[in-house]
């Protein structure tokens, strides 16, 4: 069921297959994500889209091996450069984390430990993976900060997180993530907490990374606008399942899943106030333990039919797209 | 000692929150064991007169140094003379293993087992009442300070500072020393010095800063909360906001604080009684029993150890229950669970 993106020529960097994460709750197992499969090639930017609670972050953290809630069960396969990450020993995983795969988190406000300077924290990551002296590490830190467009990087490195503006802080976060030249960067809603102008700068920065650092990016967002601007390909998640995948242009042109359609309708205007949620879709996505049988989107779907009470398989919908909707091929979308 | 109760505000807790908390609590083995232990101890203490009368055949409050009992057909003095050339000193009878003087006698020839049960009544009653009274006062102070803010808050906070600046036990001891002589006069009412209300009031009072702080914090958060602002904007009168929006939320804090405060009160009561400043004779409490046993610690340690263990068990059970309640009612957890 792997999704292949026809235009990608390079070999797959990350191969996720049938990834499922479930958690026990009141005696039964509740799936947080189910059967997530995708491939990410080198220098590719993949957008992972969905509302809050759709499983984007779970997918990302599962890849990073950062899920450690007691009782949590992860099945499936995550291959990074051919190496299986699911079930990898903690020590080996640590060596990959931060060096080969780095992650940028949603809120730059809280991403840094408040009691250390930004520089110290970037140095820490460098020194955790490379045999460098503190001085050498700091040199690299300052250089990275400069590359990220941080003014007066030497001074900034000596400042505490709370002393920096949101944008600067997110640049520092990205600098930290890139400090060991990771081949895969997972960015979890990197711009949500920033104001619009800074948002654009950060997105610009991320999209140039593949050229400057040769990194692939897994960009997690709920904002279709961001995807449109930045990503090569898109994967839409809904309630822990893949709703639709495809190349960005194709998907934006012809969404095959009613959810994707709804999302596209809700792209906020570039100027003006950014809505906090996606108000265009009535209702809220179901919590994992309240997920309805069958298509999870059916309760909110205008076109839901009786057939929707069974889970729709992810099936090709033309133009390299795949969608998990019984009606995806019959073109029942309004657009 | 802090409790982590300054959780983000949420709308007035619904019935389901309480129900869910109860369900969580019921599923918690530790809390249930603690509750069972507590119930057994409370029940046993309530049955003290029956034990004293029908099992031990003793008057737990009458000194009996000159008396004797029949053990295995022999008459045995309750105060046993020492067998040394100078005929110095007498020791109370040790644990007999019989129904009479099961745990032996104290320095006044009284049945320790029976006194343990009677003492428990007072200890438990005082600590429970003190906890409730303290919560009441703290709510009053905390809600007033937190809700009205400004000068009211400043004054109340400074007052709490003053109370806080004196170590808790020293504060309680000072109050006790004053009241133990002449009782307490509140308006037209006089409380006699040997009234159990006095330790209750004192203990409740000294822990007010301890409990008022989280209440105040919570109210201050609630006051800023959207649903309260909304209610105020709708022109709901202040007392209604306080009564129906703030108080139910504060109630969670109070319920969680309850057992912890009772545990603290029990310890404070025992400390005061140990210093002869709490429960006054003839009434007994576990603290006064430890005090009785202090002089016998080397020859008859059971006199002091038995009530001490009783305190440890109850306080432990209360602490476990408090932890269970906090986990069950933690609003952060509740919200996280439903997100």
């Amino acid at each position: 069921m792997a999704v292949n993106f026809p235009h990608s020529t390079s070999q797959p960097l990350l191969e996720v297959k049938d990834l499922c994460v479930s958690i026990p709750s009141y005696g039964r197992s509740v799936a947080l994500i189910e059967h997530i499969s995708f491939t990410l090639r080198e220098r590719e930017i993949l957008g992972l889209v969905g509302e809050s609670g759709s499983g984007k972050s779970v997918t990302a953290t599962a890849i990073m091996g950062l899920l450690d809630t007691p009782g949590l069960k992860i099945t499936g396969s995550v291959r990074f450069r051919g190496q299986e990450l699911v079930g990898l020993s903690a020590r080996k995983m640590r060596a990959i984390r931060g060096r080969d795969i780095a992650m940028i988190f949603q809120d730059p406000m809280t991403a840094f430990t408040p009691v250390y300077t930004v520089g110290w924290q970037i140095d820490e990551q460098i020194m955790a993976h490379e045999r460098l002296s503190r001085k050498q590490a700091r040199e690299r830190t300052v250089q990275l900060l400069a590359e990220m467009g941080v003014p007066d990087p030497t001074r900034t490195a000596n400042r505490y997180p709370h002393q920096l503006s949101g944008g600067l802080r997110q640049r520092a976060v990205i600098a930290m993530a890139l400090s060991c030249n990771p081949t895969l960067l997972i960015a979890d809603e990197p711009t949500t907490a920033l104001d619009v102008t800074v948002q654009a700068q950060i997105l610009e920065l991320i999209s140039t990374l593949r050229d400057t650092h040769g990194s692939s990016v897994l960009l997690i967002t709920h904002d279709m606008g961001v995807v449109a601007e930045t990503c090569d390909s898109v994967m839409v998640l809904y309630s822990g399942r893949i709703a639709e995948t495809g190349l960005a242009e194709a998907l934006f042109a012809h969404p095959r899943h009613p959810y994707t359609t709804a999302l596209l309708n809700s792209i906020p205007p570039f100027y003006g106030e950014r809505p906090h949620r996606l108000p265009a879709i009535a209702g809220t996505p179901p919590a994992p333990h309240e997920r309805p049988a069958g298509c999870a989107f059916s309760p909110r779907c205008h076109d839901a039919q009786t057939i929707c009470s069974t889970i729709p398989p992810l099936s090709p919908a033309g133009n390299g797209q795949q969608a998990a909707c019984f009606f995806s091929t019959s073109g029942q979308q309004e657009h | 000692m802090t409790t982590d109760l300054q959780t983000p505000a949420s709308p007035a807790p619904s019935v389901s929150l309480w129900r869910q908390a109860a369900r969580t609590l019921l599923a918690d083995k530790g809390s249930m064991t603690a509750l069972a232990v507590l119930c057994i101890i409370v029940l046993a203490c309530l049955l003290a007169p029956l034990y004293a009368h029908y099992v031990a055949h003793t008057d737990a409050f009458a000194s009996n140094v000159a008396g004797s009992i029949v053990l295995n057909g022999h008459e045995v003095d309750i105060m046993q003379p020492n067998d040394n050339p100078l005929h110095l000193g007498l020791s109370p009878i040790g644990p007999t293993g019989h129904t009479a003087y099961l745990l032996g006698a104290d320095s006044q020839g009284r049945d320790i087992a029976a006194r343990l049960l009677y003492g428990g009544r007072n200890s438990l009653m005082i600590s429970a009442c003190a906890a409730v009274l303290c919560l009441f006062l703290s709510t009053l102070v905390g809600v007033t300070a937190g809700y009205f803010g400004g000068i009211t808050d400043s004054i109340l906070s400074r007052l709490m500072d003053i109370m806080w600046a004196v170590p808790v036990y020293l504060f309680a001891i000072s109050l006790s020393i004053i009241t133990v002589r002449h009782g307490l006069q509140i308006g037209p009412f006089t409380i006699e010095a040997d009234n159990l209300l006095i330790p209750i009031i004192i203990i409740a009072l000294v822990y007010v800063p301890y409990a008022a702080r989280p209440v105040r914090g919570r109210v201050m958060v609630l006051r800023q909360a959207e649903f309260v602002t909304a209610a105020r904007c709708l022109g709901v009168p202040q007392w209604r906001v306080l009564l129906f929006d703030i108080l139910p939320n504060v109630l969670i804090t109070l319920v969680v604080l309850g057992p912890l405060l009772m545990a603290l009160s029990l310890l404070a009561e025992s400390a005061l009684s140990f210093l002869s400043l709490g429960v006054q004779a003839p009434a007994a409490s576990w603290g006064t029993m430890i005090q009785d046993g202090e002089g016998l610690i080397y020859s008859r340690p059971v006199v002091a150890i038995a009530p001490g263990l009783a305190i440890v068990f109850v306080v432990l059970a209360l602490n476990i229950l408090g932890d269970g309640l906090r986990d069950a009612l933690d609003i952060r957890n509740a919200t996280r669970r439903s997100r």
């Binding site: 820490e124 | 001891i173 000072s174 080397y298 440890v312 432990l316």
Partner: protein, 324 residues
Amino acid sequence: MLSAFLRRVGQTLIVLFGISVLVFLVFFATPGADPTARIAGRNASPQTMEKVRHEYGFDRPLPFQYATMMKKLFITRDLTSYANRGEQVVPEIIQAAPVTLSLVCGSAVIWLIVSVAMGTLAAAMKGSWVDRTLIMLGLVGISMPVFWLGQVANLISLSRYHDTWLFSWVPGPGYVPLTQNPLAWFKALVIPWCVLAVMFIGIYSRILRADLVALAQEDFMRTARAKGLSPARILVFHGLRTSAITYVSLFGLDFAQLLGGGALLTEVVFGLPGVGRLTYQALTNLDLPLIMATVMYSATFVVLANAVVDILYILLDPRVRDGR
């Protein structure tokens, strides 16, 4: 900065003044607190009583008496006890302070080390049997009345098992100054240290564990993990270092309360002539000058500790540093 400092000093003085007035009024109004008879001696004639009353100024108005007492306490520092003729209270406190300081410092070291170890270990092994055992141990520690634990410790170390190798070194209750004999000082205090520390170990290991567990949910802890740091490094450098802010502030206040006399039950049980016992004796004897002196001493410590904690806050938390 200066104005904040001055405001702080002002607040402190107000609190101290409030306490002193309160204590003065309360204990002067207490029946049986009139020290004249005790100073004059038993069976003293009314004339002698009158002489004493005048000599000590008990016939003057209360504000005057208050002012005199404060002057004698803080300026001339020759305030004398009412219960023990000729006994100066300031030197008495100065003498008692090292005892309390020895007790509390030693105990604090123990509770600091053990509670950090226990709390960290429990948080690191959250959910395991080790965690549950440590939580339970902490709870038991909190649940024991300290005076009772002290008695039991005395019973075990001085009576029941005194003849075994384990406790034969334990000296009888009492205090030996550090300057006189360091080893004897240590021997005399090690059991009181442990007994006093037990409750605080319980409290602080629980607080620390809860704090660390809560911190584990924080974004920056996730960042730290995403950086590929070892769990130990994350726990110590990111978790503990951040928790230290809360821990230290609580620690400071408890430490100050103990220094100010909060350890009185331990001092009473172990026969240590410290400030707490002195305060207790003063209170039971209704010895107003000594009560006043010890309460002021204690309050000063607590207020000072508040200030120190604030400074520590600034040192430990850069956010607060800039907030001022």
